[in-house]
């Protein structure tokens, strides 16, 4: 999604969106269709979560004990840090330092790639503890929401690989980098969704 949305950016850039201006749409409109679809999808899933929670308070009270708080916390730190590194890349590009932007993006990719690794270890650990998608309503909603988020993170990492390549090829500069900002917006939105998921499954008493 993000790769497709960022692709036409270079031909249409220069519309003044490269530096923050009041009332602008960061990146391009296409990416915001994707982002708003993502937020709508997760809004519906959050409503399902809370519906299940008020009906099965005991399961949701006991649920987080069975999950790995370490894995959830590690992925939260990964998401906020990768998001931060992407923000630094955009800032470097805006200051006309494409080589700096490339380094920040590579760092963001390396950190972000830790997310599926932690997820893999977490699921393996879960299965060893007997936590499956066929478990109680807490476990079902946990797998449904977090796997959905994992899919969005996968799109994000593919999009990031794309903007890394585009930056490396010199496709962006201080004035024209809407494609980079579009990707950054998607990545931050995916970070935002995770920050909402984290307390629901790992922290809430």
């Amino acid at each position: 999604m993000s790769a497709a949305a960022t692709a036409p950016a270079s031909s249409k850039e220069g519309a003044g969106a490269s530096s923050p201006a009041r009332g602008r749409i960061p990146g391009n409109r296409a990416i915001w269709v994707g982002i708003l679809a993502e937020l709508t999808e997760f809004t519906l899933m959050f409503l399902v979560y809370f519906f299940a929670r008020v009906n099965h308070p005991q399961m949701f009270h006991e649920g987080p004990r069975k999950l790995s708080l370490l894995a959830g916390s590690a992925n939260t730190l990964i998401m906020v840090s990768s998001s931060y590194l992407v923000a630094r890349a955009v800032l470097a590009m805006r200051q006309d330092r494409p080589e700096g932007a490339l380094r920040w993006l590579l760092a963001a990719f390396v950190v972000g790639a830790g997310y599926p690794v932690v997820k893999f270890l977490e699921v393996r650990w879960n299965l060893e503890q007997g936590l499956t998608g066929g478990g109680d309503v807490f476990q079902m909603s946990y797998y449904y929401l977090t796997f959905n988020h994992l899919v969005h993170t996968g799109w994000g990492l593919l999009g990031m690989a794309w903007v890394v390549a585009r930056t490396w090829m010199g496709a962006y500069d201080a004035k024209n980098h809407n494609g980079l900002v579009a990707f950054a917006s998607y990545w931050h939105a995916t970070d935002l969704v995770w920050l909402m998921i984290f307390p629901l499954f790992y922290v809430m008493p």
């Binding site: 959050f46 008020v54 970070d191 922290v203």
Partner: protein
Amino acid sequence: MTALRRIDLAWALLVLLTLTGVFLGEFRQGGFWVVLVIALVTALKGRLVIDVFMELGEASLVLRRLVRGFGLLVPALILVTYLWGPLLARFNWLLE
């Protein structure tokens, strides 16, 4: 504050707030004040990402309101379902 300092500060706060959440998750104490802190920490983290990383603080009003609204949904529902969970569960028949 420069953009650089804002971004750095936002990241430091996000890490700090995440560790607060980890602390609360580790000790798993219940009660209104704990739930209130969890909701506030979640809302603040969301707002930092939205305003500083996504730079929506000065972007299109529609986008800003939609995304900030999304960032408040979960914190609000955490509080509402904590305070009125049993009452809300009584309305299940509406969906049947």
